[in-house]
């Protein structure tokens, strides 16, 4: 005799919840949408306004100054290839999305990470949420993004921020918690307030770890921005997406290689920033 166990309508609940959020907070989401879109357009226009060669020189110069002449040469070759393949504009669009998503993610992640480092209760509350955010298949975020923000770049940013934020939070928390107890004790012994302890001891000492987290966030953002092409985000991702739809492996790989080049440049640049901080 089979016992009838009713199926829990989990999906229905979530949908009801999301619908409620969408209708109740449509004003808020529309506001966020407009604000973010302005930011995206502004940055995109600025980068596009620069002549291609000028931007290339600026990026190569940054690589030279922050990292090494070798990276600068690599940047020139890599970006030159992207330009030659006719992928310059999509590359700029992708870069814009990554920069803005990372910025938003970091602005949220730093205070949350710091708070979780200082409060055990918050730490326990936040860790499962982070696990959820990181392990939930990235595509799933795209679905609610559309009713919230409509098809396009803002939805892409929303999904990207959620997907890429966890490492920045985790590493910030880790960095602050890793500060040796003796140093905290020393700061306390000399009568430091909580703020003084945070800004003079905990944050400076956790900076290399925080930077590692930001590096991870950038990498995740880049991978998500590409996926976000499925909901209408412009950039290299949409080139890949189009190649899939038309079954053109050559085009797909060209755009894919451009993503790889961009990823390597961003990674080496942020890593060199981190090493420099370590003195």
């Amino acid at each position: 005799m089979a016992i009838e166990i009713p199926r829990i309508p989990l999906g229905d609940w979530i949908e009801t919840g999301l619908n409620w959020l969408t209708t109740e907070y449509s004003g808020v989401t529309r506001g966020i949408s407009r604000f973010t879109q302005t930011g995206i357009d502004g940055l995109n226009d600025a980068l596009m306004w620069l002549p291609d060669w000028a931007l290339l020189v600026i990026i190569a110069g940054l690589c030279w100054k922050l990292a090494s002449p070798r990276l600068a040469i690599g940047a020139v070759i890599g970006l030159g290839l992207i330009w030659d393949l006719g992928l310059w504009d999509p590359m700029i669009e992708t870069l814009t999305l990554v920069v803005i998503a990372t910025l938003v993610a970091v602005i949220i992640a730093l205070p949350v990470g710091i708070a979780a480092a200082l409060s055990d209760r918050l730490y326990r509350a936040i860790m499962p949420i982070l696990d959820f955010m990181q392990t939930m298949p990235a595509f799933v975020y795209l679905i609610p993004a559309i009713p919230f923000f409509g098809i396009g770049s803002v939805s892409a940013i929303f999904a990207t921020v959620i997907f890429s934020m966890p490492p920045a939070i985790r590493f910030t928390t880790l960095g602050i918690r890793q500060v040796p107890v003796e140093l905290i004790e020393a700061a306390d012994a000399y009568g430091a307030t909580r703020g003084q302890k945070l800004f003079k001891v905990q944050l400076p000492l956790s900076l290399p770890t925080v930077m590692a987290g930001i590096n991870q966030t950038i990498m995740l953002a880049l991978s998500m921005v590409v996926i976000a092409a499925m909901i209408g985000a412009d950039g290299l991702g949409s080139e890949v997406w189009r190649a899939i739809q038309r079954l053109r492996p050559g085009d797909g790989f060209e755009a894919g290689i451009a993503v790889v080049i961009l990823a390597m440049l961003l990674d080496r640049l942020t890593q060199s920033l981190r090493k420099e901080r370590k003195q």
């Binding site: 020393a186 000399y190 009568g191 003079k200």
Partner: protein, 400 residues
């Protein structure tokens, strides 16, 4: 000597229980249970129990005990890095356990500088910035703190290293930075938590010596924690001996060595090289008789005979040591009809200060075996040491 000084920190009935039911643990303690029983019955660790002691103004007080004795807990209770469970810690009239959080910050800034076992220097700050830390926290302006920190660094011999980072320095130098950070802060009490324990023995001796000199110069009230009895005896004006969270004995190094309060202290001091820490004053006997400078030879000779001595020290009216007269010489003077001692005074004897280590005294006894005169800074005669007394004292110490 130091007992006459004013009290800087008064600690009374200080106890610390680690655990969530301190009341229960203290109740059992009051019923006479000891630390292991309390732990077994309640799961609470009695870290410190009913600690009473004073820290005098300007003294270097050593709190000494083995690991688990509660010495680190004790020093951290003083500035409330660890919250005491009960008791009073009064510094300049303020009861530290009663202070609000804000008042506590203020109290730490004003009263306590701390030096740590593992240096606890900030790796992202230069030597100079480390030394400035306490002043920076107190909001002192940049120029003043830069100057104060530089002075402190040069006091500990680190001039020229201001811009180095801690990881570029040796262990000994790092601890000098730790010391400079504490000195620059100019708090009224210096807390040193096993400050030299992580250093290798030679550097450690140097640092002890330097601390003594600094302390002598600045007269800074210092509480020094150590597990090393040699170190405690070497630098302490007074020593508080802790065992299992309780005070076993408080006293000067010599009191601890010569009058150990119980078996525990006795066992503790077994390993110490006694002749190195016993001083002339411990073997010194009061002078049975002295001749006055205006005594004649006859008076001097009579004093010697009465006291069965064959020589006598001659002192001025204010007890300053003038010289020594031997019985033979006094006889000669009488036969020659002299009525003063001036002609027969000899300087052929040895003098030492009261702090002279006992083992140095052996070499000073000459063939004639005059007692060694113990004199103070102004050549006042404090007492004498005879050869037998040195041996007695050393033998006694060896037995213990």
């Amino acid at each position: 000597m130091s007992d006459n000084r004013s009290v800087k920190i008064k600690v009374r009935g200080l106890s610390k229980v680690f655990g969530d039911q301190p009341k229960k643990a203290l109740k059992l303690r009051d019923e006479g249970l000891k630390r292991p029983d309390i732990l077994e019955k309640t799961g609470q660790t009695l870290g410190l129990s009913n600690i009473d002691f004073d820290v005098h103004e300007g003294e270097l007080l050593v709190i000494m005990g083995l690991s688990g004795s509660g010495k680190s807990t004790l020093i951290r209770c003083l500035n409330r890095l660890i919250e005491p469970t009960e008791g009073e810690i009064v510094i300049d009239g303020e009861d530290i356990p009663q202070l609000s959080d804000k008042a506590l910050l203020e109290c730490r800034r004003r009263h306590f500088s701390m030096v740590f076992q593992n240096f606890a220097l900030f790796p992202h700050r230069t030597v100079q910035q480390n030394a400035e830390f306490g002043l920076e926290i107190r909001g002192i302006d940049a120029d003043t703190r830069a100057k104060t920190a530089r002075d402190a660094l040069s006091q500990v011999g680190l001039k020229g290293w201001e811009d180095a980072y801690p990881n570029q320095l040796s262990g000994g130098m790092q601890q000098r930075v730790g010391l400079a950070r504490a000195l620059a802060n100019d708090a009224s009490v210096l807390l040193m938590d096993e400050a030299f324990s992580a250093l290798d023995p030679l550097i450690r001796k140097d640092m002890q010596q330097e601390l003594l000199e600094l302390q002598h110069r600045m007269k800074k009230t210092t509480v020094f924690i150590t597990h090393d009895l040699d170190e405690a005896l070497n630098i302490g004006d007074r020593i508080v001996l802790l065992k299992d969270g309780e005070v076993v004995q408080i006293g000067t190094p010599e009191e601890i060595l010569t009058k150990p309060a119980d078996d525990y202290v006795e066992r503790f001091i077994e390993g110490v090289d006694m002749s190195r820490v016993l001083t002339a004053s411990s073997a010194m006997r009061p002078v049975r008789a002295t001749a006055r400078e205006d005594d004649g030879p006859r008076t001097a000779l009579r004093k010697m005979k009465e006291n069965a001595m064959d020589s006598i020290y001659v002192t001025s009216r204010d007890r300053k040591l003038m010289g020594l007269v031997e019985a033979d010489a006094a006889n000669t003077a009488i036969q020659a009809g002299q009525d003063r001692l001036d002609g027969v005074l000899t300087q052929d004897f040895r003098t030492v200060g009261p702090d002279e280590p006992l083992h140095n005294l052996f070499a000073l006894f000459n063939e004639k075996s005059f007692p060694i005169a113990v004199i103070d800074d102004e050549r006042r005669l404090l007492g004498v040491v005879v050869k037998g007394a040195v041996l007695d004292e050393l033998a006694q110490a060896g037995d213990q």
